[in-house]
Each structure stands twice: as structure tokens, then as C-alpha cells.
Symmetry: C2
Subunit: 390 residues, 2 copies
């Protein structure tokens, strides 16, 4: 199977297909009908050059200041205005990656209106534009000519929360056809998102499906399903008691999500075949819920986990540390990782020390990186091959 | 089954769950870590009052002009700044609907940075913020406590276009369990999006799944699958010969999408069980491709279709009008609809006159409305019960 040539020209991105236009002006010519607007017509932005320099652009003749902030650089960078009111700045070369960035126009932090590729979430604080810089060879998260799984979006009635909820489920390639007269029972990874995100984050920003498709094609992981629920048990941003969100979400996960997944899909209900992993807020949830339910989960992981100050560890993980040998035996994987430039790093480090002091076998990975999807995609790529080994 | 009470508080929207916050300031308190930004902290916007008045807000102490444009009103409306640099305007009451709107800040047309709910697409010209105003009773497109289908996102290799493409498929509730030893063969509606949109538009903006779930629960439609491909055969905005995009996309649809769908799902390959419907650009595609392939399609529809000046009708639809009686018999439904305030209205009217002059049986619906999703959701709701009647 050869790589389809069009993959060089069409960018398969998380939210939609967009085009690296040869002439940025082309796009404006087919605009959809819109309400009359006195605004300047936007231009395509950013433009990635073959040398991986990136030009960000904005038409704003009346703006006084335009700043760029992004995961590819510290601080902010001003755009410069030309005589026609077009602002631009060129930076780089930038390493191949998927980055988030924002414009701040006259003090208003917003997205790049010339870029259709957006990071969205459950609150507006998540809004950012997406820059993808490609390298000469495909990245581990790129779409490649291998068999592809599906992302299924399902709705379930959460009895514990009294509301209709959405759930995304990755099913690996070949799943449907294997559901014959003797259906195979797949393992399930329950994979949790962070604060201000939602149940689409792991496939739209995390590329979970492409990462697993590629690992599967390379024979580096077992096929398993990934269930991605919406991780808020209280409204995002609501003022609640500490732990209330995790308590409520945990009830939804254990009493609604898992039974729904196990009824709807050809999956195993054995604890050896269930994993619980999350990032940031979801990392805290995965460790709290998972390590208190070793009867249900055999693999538990926290990526850049929100763990708090740590004074509650002995209480929160009392059942885990009560019988360290039995717990370590039940835990086929306990994986804690955090980037050293992440504000959450010291909490992960303290948690690892707490586990060590209590003789709980685990892996602690202190890596490069901050609190970004760049880190979490790599962690998923590292952890997936460790799951559900026979 | 009673309506879950939380549906009154949590809004299930197309892109994510958002909250009608009791205190807008709450949301800012749990913001995710971001790069340092000199910008003012955004505020939640818009705020919908119980009387359906809507307040749009923006913190922009350095802006000189902020304008609101939206589908709920003609023209634009200025926001007013208070002494703290907070801009706002209150309009309405607004009729219950889902609307798109934009802010124009100092001449830059952009989204509302205080609203996480965005309309995205394949080009930046699509970017808008989403305002949902709820009525006292659920709308036909609202999530209700009925059995829910799924939206599946699949990847397929398009041989005709030489690239990997995404496809969304709605499968009705009960689909999986009916795929037993004697699988039922479902009909398929191929449903096309408009310019600057993508294959996610019909479920994210059009709520196709909720509309069909509700119709099915009311016994008003047959269960069928809806396949929603990406409707560009050339890059969005590319300068091409007239008809080239439809020609290239048509090849992908007929040679790649349909065979893929029929291989992957329990669907019928009979022409009586295939429909092709689209909106705007996709309406032109559906009529052109569908009416030239009555061997493949029995139901064809164009919503606010992009049909051009009409001088090409005799040539484009030569095979259709050559045998009007046979064509009319094969066409179990030919449905053309357009809003009278839509710039595309006269083209649809001319097309209906062309069909009438050539004795092709069809339905022409001249309705209220402009070139908006409000119209297309209603058209889908009207057309779905007409499909695949035995």
C-alpha cells in the first residue's frame, strides 16, 4: 500500500479538511452568503513555508495592536501593520508539531479569524487556533494508509446525573467484522479529558484514533476500544466542594458509562480488560477513581494529573495503601507522567513519592514539555502498547 | 419515560455541552493554564434571559467600535462600552431558534470570544458563534428522551481522488441489534453540505440525528442511514472550471463513498432504497448527480440549491428530460425547496419551471427564510417522512 499522493496536499486535521492554499486570496472568492458586514475581508492565516517558517496574518486597518501568543514560543510577539492595514509576523522555523495559538487584537484575546481550524471545548477559555507544522516524514499521529478505526458518537441517559450525555468511542479497525457468531470480547480503555474540554477532545486534539491505528498497523499494541465520556459531573466552572466533580463524574462513569459501553459493544467485563487513564483534571479523576476501584480496573494512568497539594493522599488513597502487595499485584500498570515545565509537575512527583513510600509499584515518567496536547499525544503513544498485555 | 429534569439546565448542543450559568463570572474561575496574555479576561456571552432577551458582552477597553451581526436581525447593531471597558448590547425578545452571529471588533470580523459554541467549517469564512434560544417546549431538533441513534465517523481511501477522506454516518437507534443472522437491509440517504462547510455540518449544525431520532420515536419516518461525505472534490475556494467540483465529487460519491457504505453497513443496494439530497452547493450536486443517475437514486432533493443562471439546464439535465414519463415514474420523490428571502430563490424557481415545462413530476416548496440552517433543518424535518415509503 503506497501513501496516497494527495495526503501531501490535503491536510487531514482533527476538525475538518483544510487546504494549504497556493494563493490565499482564492478562498475569499467563494465565501458563503453572510450578513452585510462593514469589516475587512479576512485573509488565510497562517501560511507555513517549506522551510517551516510560519507567517500569521490579519487584515485590521483600524486596530492599534495585534499580538500573537502560542505554544511554539514563550511570551508574545507583535504583528506589524503595512500601509494597507494588513498585519503580519513571520516566525520560525518551527519544529513539526500541532500547536495552539491566539491573537490578541487591541487587548481582546481571540482566535485567528483567517484559520478555520479551531480548538474548541466546553468553555470559552479553551478557544484557540490550531497550527499544524508537518515534517518530511509522517508523525505518529498523522493519518497514514493503514486500516482505520471509527469514532462513534453515542448518547446515553445518565441515571446518576439525570441528564442525556454524549460519549465518544473509538473502535479499532476490523471490529465490526469480528462481531460474528462468536464475538471477540475487546478490552476497553476509559480515557478522560481535562478541564474546559469535552468528550471530543481526545480524538479532535489528541488524535487517539490515528495514534492507535498506526500502532495497530505496526503490531505494537493490542486492539482495544477507547470510551471517552464527558468528564464533568458538575457544570464546567461551577463553584463546588473539592472533590464534588470527581465524585459525581465517578458515579456517572461507574454506574452509567461502563454498563452502557458493556451492553452496546463486544467488550469484556473482566477487570483485567479495563483501563482508566486521564489528563489534567481527568488525570486526577482517573487516579482517584481507578485506584479506589481495583476490583474494576487493572491499568490506571494519570497524564499531567491535577492532584492538588497532596495532603489528602493518605486519605484519598487509603484503600490502595492498606494492602500494598495485593494492590501492586492487581495493578498491571500504574503510570504517572508529567512534563517538567508543567505547573502540575511537582504534584505528580509528590504522588510518585507517596506511592513509593507506600510500596505501590508504578512507573513515573518525568519528561520534557508543559501542560499541552503535544505531551499528552506522546504519552498515549507510549502507554497504549503497555495496555492489556497477555 | 419522563423528560430528564437536567435537560432544562444543561444544554445539549451540537459541538459540546455548555452551561447556562447562573453566574457568568463562575466560568472564569477554572480556566485552563494558558500562555501569559496581556488581554482582558473574557466574559461569558451571550446571556439569554427568561423573556428571551439576549445580552451580548465583550471586555475590550481598548476597542473603538464593536458591532453585532446575526441571523436574528437585519444589518448590524453596535455594542455600548461602559466605564470599565465592558461592551454590551441587549436585543430581543428573540424567537426560539439556533442562530449564527459574529462580532466585528474595530473592523475585524470575528467570533464572540465569550462563547464556546462555534460554527466551524472547511474555510474561515464559515466561522461564527452560535446562539441557541430555547422555547417553552422542545423544538423538533432538540434532544429528547427517546431512543438515540449514533453518528459514526469513518475514514475511507478515495481511489477517485487519491486521498484519505472522512465520512459521517447516522445510524438509527436499534441498528446494531438488528444486524443478526438475518440482517435487515436499511435504506440510505446521502446528504450533502454546502460551500465552506464539511462532512460534520449536517449533524453539528443541522442536528440530523436529533431530527430523525424524534421523527422515528413519533412513528413519522422509516428508519434509514444517513451518509454525509465531504462534498469537495477540489479544494474549497480553488479556482476551477464550472462543474469541475461536482464532477470530481460525483466520481468520489459514486465510485468510492457508496461502495464503501454498502460494504460497511447493513444497507440495501437497490435504487428504491437510495436518496440523494443536499443544501446550497450540495443541493446543486444532489440535483446534478442524482437526476443524471436515476439508475442509482429514487429520491432526489435540493435545499436552497446552487443552480446557476439556468441556461445550462437543458444540457445538464438532458437525460432526465429525454424521457419525462419514465423519469417521473422512477423518481419517487423530487423535492426542490428554497426560502423566498434567499438569493438562490430565483434559480430554484426557474429550475421548477424547467421541470414543469419538461413534464417532470416534482415538489417545489417556496417557503419563508433565507440562506440559513434554520431553513435546512426544517426542510430535513419535512422531507425525511417522505423518503422510502413502501
Amino acid at each position: 500500500m503506497t501513501r496516497p499522493p494527495a495526503l501531501d496536499h490535503w491536510k487531514l486535521i482533527a476538525g475538518c479538511f483544510v487546504l494549504a492554499l497556493s494563493s490565499p486570496a482564492d478562498a475569499a472568492k467563494q465565501e458563503a452568503p453572510t450578513n452585510a458586514s462593514p469589516s475587512a475581508r479576512p485573509v488565510t492565516s497562517p501560511i507555513v513555508s517549506p522551510d517551516r517558517r510560519v507567517t500569521f496574518r490579519l487584515v485590521a486597518p483600524h486596530a492599534r495592536e495585534v499580538l500573537l501568543t502560542g505554544e511554539f514560543m514563550p511570551g508574545s510577539q507583535p504583528l506589524q501593520m503595512d500601509a494597507n492595514g494588513s498585519w503580519s509576523v513571520t516566525i520560525g522555523p518551527i519544529e513539526p508539531e500541532i500547536y495552539h495559538y491566539n491573537f490578541t487584537i487591541d487587548g481582546v484575546r481571540t482566535i485567528d479569524p483567517g484559520n478555520a481550524d479551531l480548538k474548541t471545548g466546553s468553555t470559552f477559555s479553551t478557544l484557540a487556533s490550531v497550527l499544524e507544522v508537518r515534517g518530511e516524514t509522517p508523525a505518529f499521529y498523522d493519518a497514514q494508509p493503514v486500516p482505520h478505526g471509527e469514532i462513534r458518537t453515542l448518547w446515553y441517559q445518565s441515571k446518576s446525573l439525570g441528564t442525556l450525555r454524549r460519549l465518544n468511542v473509538y473502535v479499532p479497525p476490523g471490529y465490526d467484522t469480528s462481531a460474528g457468531t462468536q464475538p471477540r470480547r475487546y478490552p476497553v480503555l476509559y480515557l478522560l479529558h481535562g478541564a474546559n474540554a469535552d468528550e471530543t477532545a481526545w480524538h479532535r486534539l489528541g488524535r487517539v484514533n490515528m495514534i492507535l491505528d498506526n500502532l495497530l498497523a505496526a503490531g505494537k499494541t493490542q486492539p482495544f476500544l477507547v470510551a471517552m465520556p464527558f468528564g464533568y459531573g458538575v457544570p464546567p466552572g461551577a463553584l463546588t466542594q473539592p472533590g464534588e466533580n470527581t465524585m459525581r463524574f465517578g458515579k456517572d462513569l461507574l454506574e452509567d458509562v461502563i454498563p452502557f459501553v458493556e451492553a452496546r459493544f463486544h467488550v469484556s467485563a473482566a477487570r483485567e480488560m479495563r483501563a482508566l487513564v486521564g489528563l489534567s483534571m481527568g488525570g486526577g479523576q482517573a487516579l482517584t477513581i481507578g485506584l479506589n476501584h481495583l476490583d474494576l480496573f487493572s491499568h490506571v494512568g494519570g497524564f499531567s494529573a491535577a492532584l492538588g497539594a497532596g495532603s489528602d493522599f493518605p486519605q484519598t488513597y487509603a484503600s490502595l495503601v492498606a494492602q500494598p502487595e495485593a494492590a501492586s499485584k492487581k495493578l498491571r500498570l500504574l503510570w504517572v507522567g508529567c512534563g517538567k515545565e508543567d505547573g502540575a509537575f511537582s504534584a505528580s512527583q509528590r504522588f510518585s513519592e507517596f506511592l513509593t513510600a507506600n510500596r505501590i509499584a508504578h512507573t513515573f515518567r518525568a519528561t520534557a514539555g508543559a501542560h499541552t496536547w503535544m505531551v499528552w499525544r506522546r504519552y498515549l503513544h507510549e502507554v497504549a502498547p503497555l495496555l492489556f498485555q497477555q
